[in-house]
């Protein structure tokens, strides 16, 4: 099944999967922080793997990214990433909400990182839960991995998922944005189905 030959209907179906997953992820984030979370209309796009580094803008921009793998009948990778500044704002907000009374400056870097990984984990697990309901069956989720680095370097992981078998990546993504906060906090949830998983997915969604 060649990614570049996907029909509009198949891409629409992927977008809908993204919509359902991201909706659930937005709710989880909203509950965790007791804030309103806005969500963009999800996209499902075919991106040339050679243009991945610039797809989200400056490849040298520092981002924070949480990565998980989900395995089962349908296998995919999920990434939650944001500008480093947004990530640190998010940690501040989480700590002041969940651990009132702690002085932000006293929180060690490892604990901030651990908080960030956990937020990413909850967002991505919620996304997956919605997919599980949609697809039926259960899909395992890995321990999360976290990176703070140049966006271009982080996104190369997408090229290594799709590169062996083709020239295009299918990227399903949406932006989650916190409303009513002083500092900007937004992040992208990205789903990357394994190239071998599309048939199963489209079969279940009846767009094969």
């Amino acid at each position: 099944m060649e990614i570049e030959n996907f029909s509009n209907m198949q891409l629409d179906a992927m977008r809908e999967v993204g919509n359902i997953g991201a909706g659930n992820a937005a709710t989880a984030l909203s509950v965790m922080l007791a804030r309103t979370v806005d969500m963009d209309v999800p996209k499902a796009e075919l991106v040339s793997i050679y243009e991945l580094a610039e797809y989200y803008g400056d490849p040298l921009k520092e981002v924070s990214a949480v990565f998980v793998r989900s395995e089962g009948e349908f296998t995919c990778s999920l990434i939650f990433f944001q500008d480093e500044e947004d990530a640190q704002n998010l940690v501040d907000l989480l700590i002041s909400h969940q651990m009132g009374g702690m002085v932000l400056e006293d929180i060690p870097a490892e604990m901030r990182d651990s908080a960030l990984t956990e937020v990413g984990n909850i967002i991505l697990s919620s996304f997956l839960n919605a997919i599980n309901v949609l697809m039926g069956g259960t899909h395992s989720i890995s321990v999360p991995g976290v990176a703070h680095d140049m966006m271009g370097a982080v996104l190369e992981v997408i090229a290594s998922i799709f590169g062996q078998t083709g020239e295009y990546a299918l990227i399903v993504d949406t932006t989650l944005k916190l409303a009513d906060v002083d500092k900007q906090i937004s992040g992208k949830v990205v789903m990357l189905p394994d190239p071998g998983s599309f048939e199963i997915l489209f079969g279940k969604l009846q767009v094969l």
């Binding site: 050679y50 395995e71 890995s142 321990v143 190369e156």
Partner: protein
């Protein structure tokens, strides 16, 4: 300062002195430079994956994508611009593992170390001396090669610059 040519994913660019070569944000990929100081020629390729097996015809259209096609393609490219095969030297950087997920089936996450290993093996097989390299770890790199000093400058976020 000379303009630096940016070598995008799977691209291969050859320049002559005093032009510069660079690649931004290498993660698991490899930035490989072959150069001939006497002929004042250098080429850089941005390798994405170790092995073109299973990629079929498409591997030929983008030889820079896979280590096993990129190394011979870069040798040919620099030599066709006037470099002498026997004078070629190599420097390379990259091959990080950006994410580690304990216990998960994630061969593709370790592709960086396979990229580095495969590229280094191929250079050995071709008999090209590897002067210096900076590979592995879990941080991204930005690399810049000067055809004046013949040094490869490696920048890592939060750790500054090193010249190799």
């Amino acid at each position: 300062m000379e303009k630096a040519h940016h070598v995008g994913m799977a691209e291969l660019i050859v320049v002559s002195a005093p032009e510069m070569l660079m690649t931004l944000g290498l993660g698991s990929c490899i930035g490989l430079v072959l150069y001939d100081q006497a002929a004042k020629i250098a080429g850089m390729v941005h390798i994405m994956l170790p092995d073109s097996r299973g990629a079929g015809e498409k591997a030929r259209e983008k030889p820079g994508k896979f280590a096993d096609t990129a190394v011979p393609a870069l040798i040919n490219a620099v030599c066709s611009k006037g470099a002498l095969r026997s004078r070629l030297k190599a420097k390379l950087a990259g091959g990080s593992q950006m994410f580690a997920l304990p216990g998960a089936e994630t061969d593709f996450l370790a592709v960086g170390s396979r990229n580095a290993k495969e590229t280094i093996n191929l250079l050995k097989k071709e008999g090209i001396p590897l002067v210096n390299s900076d590979v592995g770890g879990n941080k991204g790199r930005t690399v810049e090669f000067s055809t004046v000093t013949w040094m490869l400058t490696v920048k890592v976020l939060g750790k500054g610059k090193t010249e190799i």
